[in-house]
Symmetry: C2
Subunit: 164 residues, 2 copies
Amino acid sequence: MRKRDRDSGQGADAGARSAFNYGPLQNQLGYLLRRAQIAVFRDFFAVFDEFDIRPAQYSVLTLIECNPGLSQTEICKALGIQKPNFVPVLDALEARGFVRRASTPSDRRSYALFLTAAGQNFVRKLHRAAAKHERRIIERVGVHAHDCIFEVLRNLASSSDEER
Amino acid sequence: MRKRDRDSGQGADAGARSAFNYGPLQNQLGYLLRRAQIAVFRDFFAVFDEFDIRPAQYSVLTLIECNPGLSQTEICKALGIQKPNFVPVLDALEARGFVRRASTPSDRRSYALFLTAAGQNFVRKLHRAAAKHERRIIERVGVHAHDCIFEVLRNLASSSDEER
DNA sequence: TATTGTTATACTCTATAACTATA
DNA sequence: TATAGTTATAGAGTATAACAATA
């Protein structure tokens, strides 16, 4: 069965655009941001399915790759994760042999985090998948729009950093 | 390999801008979209705190307001919510006297949803708060960027509608 | 047989308090 | 005393199977 074009048969609305009136929601950034993020993550999951990796795990691996030796607290701060919630995430990545908790001589409370050789190899594959995913998005919205939106999103995202 | 030269003695990084290297994440829409959405929702919560209303509840009230008489299934379709998850959401709004489940004569399985008078009054207050929230965002990113980003976000969001 | 609203359930994500071992 | 990592726990959000009433 098709969509159930509730507003009778006008061919004008040919694209079978959603028949609902979203009112003020249509002009509210928060709502659109959430819907867009869900849609983009859906594509992310499709591309990363074969690797059994979630967005948060990918960002953790990338951050450790680009900043070897960071502590757990620092990674948490960088990604906006709570320390207690980060423990099982890291445990899983360590159990799969991608990350190493190295004890630090200077402060025996904390660990310095590193990718293993397997982890480095793995994250390179992930980056290739991520690039493919990103190309699909650019193809959809256009290069110019893609560039333009980044500036705005970085601006918005940084507003939450400020209050810390 | 370099060993944590990050926190040598830098006064150079005066702005205390984040000292982390985000690598490829900086150029990935999914990551930025998530961070931006979290930041925007944080402001939403601040503005809506006094009303004890969450984003999903606000969107439900708005959709019923703009489309009186819709069934639960239709609301779910419009907002991308699973039917079982929608039941407690609606229960709460009904318990607070904002929404009415009206039995429909034509199909006795389904309810037609309407706002009560109190609900209509309440949602108007919410819209005013939402407008205030939106003005804060526009003030931050600029009118032009705000307009530009909407087009792209709607495009992205609609990509998930298509596959249903 | 199919659909509407519902219950039950499970899994993820997120948030907070409190513990331990170090500092 | 303060901090790093950890444990336990509780609350949202999300997903699926299955049921009763109705179509």
